[in-house]
């Protein structure tokens, strides 16, 4: 007796999907086993790897991170302010492999061969890919400020990567005398985490107010305005009136040079000798983006605004701070949101499907004090002008919001952190 087995059924389905070419809806046959390599285990890369597996568990997803533990920039200012310890901002990749089936490799990518679709690592390994996602983050423009290079960052830390630089700056703050001077020098736009330098000034001020109240923070800014500025300045007037002084670029804030040996900063003809100097240098895409040939003249990676595929090298997607993502800021939340969109675009692309809608969000909290938070948010859509915020939505919190709202936003800031890191690593 003949029986209809799986083979016959599939044959019938094959006929059905052939018919789809003539207007009958297609039956989805996901391409299984496509090899996706994700380079960079931060907000963009870790999220993208996890969501690739969530969209299609049959994919082979390899995440290559050059660190065994990821230390976040978000909440590193709370470490500097003495409110959190390093372990709070330190995360492992265990669940990405054990729960989600991502192959996690700890190594440094040295070569991207886009024509052979292969990458090589410092550890001597090579990985072939069908699609490559790079989420490498930022690099620094060393010597853009005269005298400020990698060696100088050992005495004047940038602390713009979470890790040993965070620890170094915290130690310096602990060691400085009461009555000392802290200089924070933020760069011009664009740079990673636009409100970050001002949250940093706030939380260092919180620490000094409690422990070294005669001290002072001088912000020597390359810019004339900054993210969430009215909310920060209102709160500074309230909490730290004599502690924080902000000098805009056009009024003496621009650095001429630094002398790291003598802890001296020269800005617009003035000389400032300080106890602690935090230089946040001008930035560019991380070095792998340059060696892979993905950057433009300004040092960032132009990408298709829908799929985040490089417009320079096909088959390679660039997400996060290294990419040029329309009006989205270079933030952890933006990178995470881009990681999910990129994952969906890759999966849909392999299946010959369309994602139908392109939508991103950025939500960012800053702490001005442990119980005082402020926020900015935006919903982004793909328009004919690229990725743009939805008009009438988003923006910063109201200036005259009640104190209760600031308290809630401080509570939510930590909730945000727990959620987004669990969404990456949990």
């Amino acid at each position: 007796m003949n029986t209809i087995d799986r083979r016959h059924f599939l044959k019938w389905l094959g006929t059905a999907s052939a018919l789809s070419a003539f207007g009958i809806p297609s039956l989805a046959f996901p391409k299984s086993g496509a090899r996706i390599v994700v380079v960079g285990g931060g907000f963009g890369g870790a999220t993208c790897a996890k969501y690739l597996k969530r969209f299609d568990s049959s994919l082979s997803v390899t995440l290559i991170s050059d660190t065994k533990k990821f230390i976040t920039c978000p909440f590193s200012n709370a470490v500097l302010g003495g409110m959190k310890k390093m372990d709070f901002i330190t995360h492992g990749y265990e669940k990405l492999s054990s729960v989600h089936g991502v192959k996690v490799v700890h190594d440094t990518v040295t070569t991207v061969d886009s024509s052979a679709k292969k990458i090589r690592t410092a550890g001597g390994k090579s990985f072939s890919y069908d699609r490559l996602v790079l989420s490498p983050g930022i690099g620094f423009q060393w010597d853009a400020i005269e005298g400020y290079n990698e060696a100088a960052s050992e005495s004047m830390p940038h602390s713009w990567h979470g890790g040993s630089q965070t620890v170094l700056l915290r130690k310096q703050l602990e060691a400085m005398p009461n009555g000392g001077l802290v200089i924070i020098a933020p760069p011009g736009n664009p740079f990673r985490c636009p409100p970050g330098p001002y949250e940093r000034a706030s939380l260092i001020a919180h620490y000094l107010k409690k422990n070294k109240p005669r001290s002072k923070i001088l912000i020597l800014d390359a810019k004339d305005k900054f993210s969430k500025q009215p909310l920060f300045q209102d709160a500074w007037d309230e909490f730290y009136p004599d502690l924080i002084e902000w000098v805009p670029g056009s009024q003496g804030g621009k650095l001429d040079r630094v002398d790291a040996k003598n802890m001296t900063v020269y800005a617009s003809g003035d000389k400032h000798k300080a106890d602690v100097v935090n230089i946040i240098p001008p930035q560019k895409a991380a070095s792998i983006a340059f060696s892979a040939g993905l950057t433009n003249k300004k040092g960032w990676c132009p990408v298709n605004q829908k799929t985040f595929e490089s417009t320079v090298k096909p088959g390679i997607h660039v997400i996060g701070d290294a990419s040029i993502a329309g009006k989205m800021p270079k933030s952890g939340f933006a990178a995470s949101s881009q990681g999910k969109v990129c994952a969906a675009e890759i999966v849909a692309g392999l299946r010959g499907e369309s994602v139908g809608i392109s939508s991103w969000v950025n939500t960012c909290y800053s702490l001005v004090a442990p119980d005082y938070g402020i926020s900015v948010a935006a919903v982004y859509r793909l328009t004919d002008k690229g990725i743009m915020p939805v008009k009438g939505a988003g923006g910063v919190g109201k200036r005259d919001a009640p104190l209760q709202q600031r308290r809630m936003e401080a509570v939510y800031a930590e909730g945000w952190y727990k959620a987004i890191t669990a969404d990456m690593f949990g």
């Binding site: 209809i4 926020s375 935006a378 919903v379 939805v390 939505a393 909730g415 952190y417």
Partner: protein, 103 residues
Amino acid sequence: MKQKSLRITVVMSAAIFMWISGVGMAADYRPAMLANPCAGCHGTDGASPGSIPSIKGLPSSYLVSAMKAFKADKRKGTVMNRIAKGYTDEEIELMAKHFSSAK
């Protein structure tokens, strides 16, 4: 032979049912495309590990009314009034169904 034709009928019916009902058709990515960014604050699938409210598994009608109230500033919030204004009512419905049925 009788049994074979019966089996063919069953299989064909199942396939036709799949086609009509949409099972196995091209995936609709829109709910996930809209809802995934929410996980950055509300947790993966809306299950919050921290102080921000969980939205996973809540009734769709509740999520729709909450979002519409935030959008119209009829409900007080911190950041949600600003975010809800970024979505059409139809998109809010898609997102609400997504979180309501999240497993």
